[in-house]
Point group: C2
Chain length 317, copies 2
């Protein structure tokens, strides 16, 4: 079985490679690829039965679904699918699939790259070696993950993997999550109330997905609970954090904040926070490994193939 | 029981803290602390029964032992004790103790700090974020440890811990060692002949102690066997590596060499190698964590106490 017409919106050439485009093109008689905001979107929706979309480029609302009477499948080129009205799609018998977990390993390894960079003063010491200056090396205060308390907020795929790696490094690992996770507790990862996790952990990694419930999860009260001297790492959305209160902790230089997704932050806030020694910002490189890139495309195309075979994978509605 | 006179040589104030000096001072009626090369060394050896020494500052030879007829104990302020004539000491009934493994965790974590720094392009991407420049971020080639082959040469304490962490990261881990290690093989760490390890592994960590047998272990033939594109990390002594042949690989930019102990390298060689993109040098910060520093002193003093109690620990002869 094949689709009649695949419409792609905002899935640009650079993000899907030639090999995967070729596979996609075997799955329909015709493919039309539009960029976000193209004036032809509504016209092509009328005749498409398969929509492949980057929802961050182009949210899919009721009006788009209503405009596409033949639509059977929406494939999100992302893990998050909140910007697709998947519930409404369901009422129309449209299957929505996403790409969960392609970046789990990439982000979890990145978390330890950034933590270790900080606690071993890597950038600075690399510069000292380049200059051949070893006079102050003995005075650089570096420390270990082993034996520290390591708290993970949110035990989804990424949070769980970070917790496992923290265990492997010999940390005492705690988590907070809306629901208890007996599997992880069996691995020795202990549940803690959010406020005691914040006030007791030396490392805190936040790995919540963004939703109405989690927006500004790290509000003023919670940020103020973070243990003096702790390292707080956020590879999740910026919207989880109240930057005004965070700044007050950074002014006092009593916590360290490490984050990527700097590109999605308000540049004014980046400028303000960057001046604090305890604020270490990175570009959005957590998910960007070669391996994650390939896996993402494999799952994206595989979802379409599996739907056509009558065995949809990663269906979210 | 107490010693009559503790003589310390090359164990400087900065490396042992006040608290530990206080403990040491409870273990003898008298303490004399000399720096290396002091003209008083031979005089004080005549009356000392306990010698505490940094053998890298001051090797202990037959003549020193012969000069110390009351000597009962030599404590090395180091893991390595090859610079103390421990075999001759044994013939005189002198116990020699060292400080094994105080830096195992510190060095193993450092290895992953440096590997991750390289494969996630941390220094560079940190600079991009600081500049607010995200235009080229998608083109930065970053990759994962997971699924790669990871070879460890030498499965002592540090090599074993690095192998375990590589397993936790999801690498396929291989080792070469003079003797097979069934315990590690049971954990899934597979033995490989040195030449196939070198030619097949994506990451290679050398963790051999320096001895006459291991000097220039990474000779020309072995360096030339290293897989194209591999990352070769050396947190062990520089003397294990033939830098001339290494340079030829670096000229071709077909391997990456990461090392610390840059302070102990010939500055001319540092200058020559530093210009290659694939050569990443660090100061000697592997063992230098706060935790290792405390543990080292604890074991150093504990060894003396245990000897006095008649239950010597970490005796090497």
């Amino acid at each position: 079985m094949k689709f009649r017409k695949i419409l792609t919106i905002g899935v640009v050439e650079g993000t899907v490679d030639e090999e995967h485009w070729k596979k996609i093109d075997t799955l329909a008689e015709e493919r039309v690829s539009l960029s976000k905001g193209s004036p032809d979107v509504m016209k092509h929706l009328r005749t498409t039965d398969c929509l492949l979309v980057n929802p961050f480029q182009m949210p899919i609302e009721k009006k788009h679904i209503d405009a596409a009477p033949s639509l059977k499948y929406i494939g999100a080129f992302s893990t998050a699918y909140g910007k697709i009205d998947y519930a409404y799609a369901e009422t129309k018998g449209i299957t929505v699939c996403n790409i969960p977990g392609f970046s789990t390993e990439a982000v979890a390894e990145f978390a330890f790259a950034l933590i270790l960079e900080h606690i071993r003063d890597i950038e600075h010491s690399k510069q000292l070696a380049r200059q051949g200056d070893f006079s102050e090396v003995a005075k650089i205060p570096v420390y270990e993950i082993k034996g520290k308390s390591f708290g993970v907020i949110g035990l989804g795929r990424i949070g769980s993997r970070i917790a496992e790696l923290a265990m492997a490094f010999g940390a005492n690992v705690y988590y907070w999550s809306r629901t208890r996770k007996p599997d992880m507790e069996n691995k020795g990862i202990k549940y803690q109330e959010i406020s005691s996790l914040l006030s007791s952990c030396d490392f805190i990694s936040i790995n919540l997905a963004l939703s109405k419930d989690t927006e500004v999860f790290m509000n003023g009260a919670r940020i103020n609970k973070i243990k003096h001297g702790a390292v707080f790492i956020n590879l999740a959305p910026n919207e989880l954090v109240d930057f005004d209160v965070l700044e007050r902790r950074l002014v006092n230089n009593d916590i360290v904040y490490i984050a990527d997704h700097t590109d999605e932050m308000n540049p004014e806030i980046v400028k303000r926070l960057s001046k604090y020694k305890g604020c270490i910002l990175y570009p959005p490189l957590g998910f960007a490994t070669k391996e994650a890139h390939v896996l993402k495309q494999d799952v994206f195309v595989g979802n379409v193939e599996n739907f056509l075979k009558g065995k949809p994978t990663n269906k979210v509605n």
